[in-house]
Symmetry: C2
Subunit: 272 residues, 2 copies
């Protein structure tokens, strides 16, 4: 019997179990200019938690703080269940390489999500259908080529004539894995960081940029995601401010049917 090889994303975010120390590795398929794609690192951390034998419930929130450059190769994940309650778990994770200093740290909350009153306050943003939009061309960073971006609004136009006034930082695009893969918490985590830097949109040019802290909230559990059965999301991102070398980003990931799956925010360094 032929077994299907794993999806590139699953290969890139693979972990090997340990007792409290798990192992992962950077992936050349999900490489950014000077280090691994942060979304893949965050998803790898999430996978180590989801696969952990003591884990119960679904991911509710994950915060990853990127501390130092992560080099190509293997890394260790020190995973600790700090506190477990009846229906929630609080985790702390540190990523190190070769026993050296911490490259990333993360806190996560998992929860058994019980049925309740349910209401989506936010409205699904209008968007041209996926099929009617041309894919964004491939670029140099390998990670971006593992995704298909189809921009509804805020098409990147970096390197064109520099803008006189700051541009809009809003972008709205369909994102799916280039090799289709069913959307799960892992891909939502990675896609939370799959927006281009907001500063690039505001400035109309590429500048040195790096995510410092990334937080994602999950609004759909494994049952909800299975019911959606989708391979792409409508991703909306915007920024509030750029000031003294740091700027923020807010984002939302929607199912094509109009369900809010995750919200995300990050603060990032830039040089401009």
């Amino acid at each position: 019997m032929l077994t299907k090889p794993p999806h590139l994303f699953d290969d890139a975010t693979r972990v090997t179990a340990g007792d409290s120390r798990w192992r992962g590795q950077t992936s050349d398929d999900y490489w950014a200019f000077i280090g691994p794609f942060g979304g893949a690192t965050a998803a790898t951390i999430l996978r180590a938690l989801i696969d952990h034998p003591e884990r119960s419930g679904d991911p509710l929130s994950l915060t990853v703080n990127f501390c130092a450059p992560i080099a190509r190769g293997a890394f260790d994940l020190d995973v600790r269940l700090v506190k477990a309650n009846r229906s929630t778990q609080h985790w702390y994770v540190e990523l190190t390489q070769g026993g050296a200093e911490v490259g990333a740290l993360a806190t996560a909350v998992f929860a058994e999500r019980r049925s309740s009153w349910s209401h989506q306050q936010a409205e699904f943003p209008p968007a041209r259908p996926f099929e009617q939009i041309r894919p964004f061309p491939r670029i140099k960073a390998s990670w971006a080529n593992q995704y298909e971006f189809r921009f509804v609004e805020g098409d990147p136009d970096f390197g064109a004539a520099k803008k006189d006034a700051p541009g809009s930082a809003l972008s709205k695009c369909w994102i799916g894995d280039r090799v289709p893969r069913k959307i799960d918490a892992l891909s939502l985590m990675a896609m939370s960081d799959a927006f281009f830097g907001r500063i690039f949109h505001a400035r109309g040019e590429l500048v040195p940029f790096g995510t410092v802290s990334l937080t994602t909230y999950f609004h759909a559990d494994v049952t909800d995601l299975a019911a959606e059965d989708i391979s792409r999301v409508l991703a909306v991102a915007d920024a509030n401010i750029f000031h003294k070398s740091y700027g923020d980003q807010t984002g939302a990931l929607w199912s094509p049917g109009g369900r809010l799956l995750a919200t995300t925010t990050q603060i990032a360094y830039f040089k401009a």
Copy 2:
């Protein structure tokens, strides 16, 4: 010479230095129905970091995960500088009481903020001036009475006739300390959690509610805040979704002059 007694808020968020273990205590002045006001706890954690001899730079982000009920009385803060770079610091904090299980954990980033291109993408939301609005009446929870809330929009109307359809979760209000106190990073941190639960607004009633994870980004450093020299902020909060016992909140804190000082987001448990 008479020395001025400390502001209630400074007393409530007081810490005593230790080497890696700091001490704080809950405050009856900032008490919520079943535990300390989360904003005061978060501000106490932030104060332990700001006062730490190894701290350099200004707070950039703070994430606090509330793990377990915190009892009235003293608590310990285990404070650890996980990684320091040339211009950023990454901290991890655990709050315990009497050597028992962790009640809250937090990660923080501090940064030396260098001047850069600066642009505020978000627009200052229109609001009636503070002076034209009547203060929100005092309520049972002591913490809320340490603040003066003046609602521009989304006046709480809990306990009125239950709504047929979900209400708006948006609220916009002026918040200042009831005993005026100059806005600093500590008060911004506390005010990040000084919104009433979004679920109360959406449902038009009070229901069991608790913040699980709270993240705040600071968009003004100590110099910026000193220049503002203000004692209140315009606070805007909204929610995207309530689903399977958890709902989110997004918020922004603005200076009266229209400067975005902090953005915040949280995920909270509710029973409804």
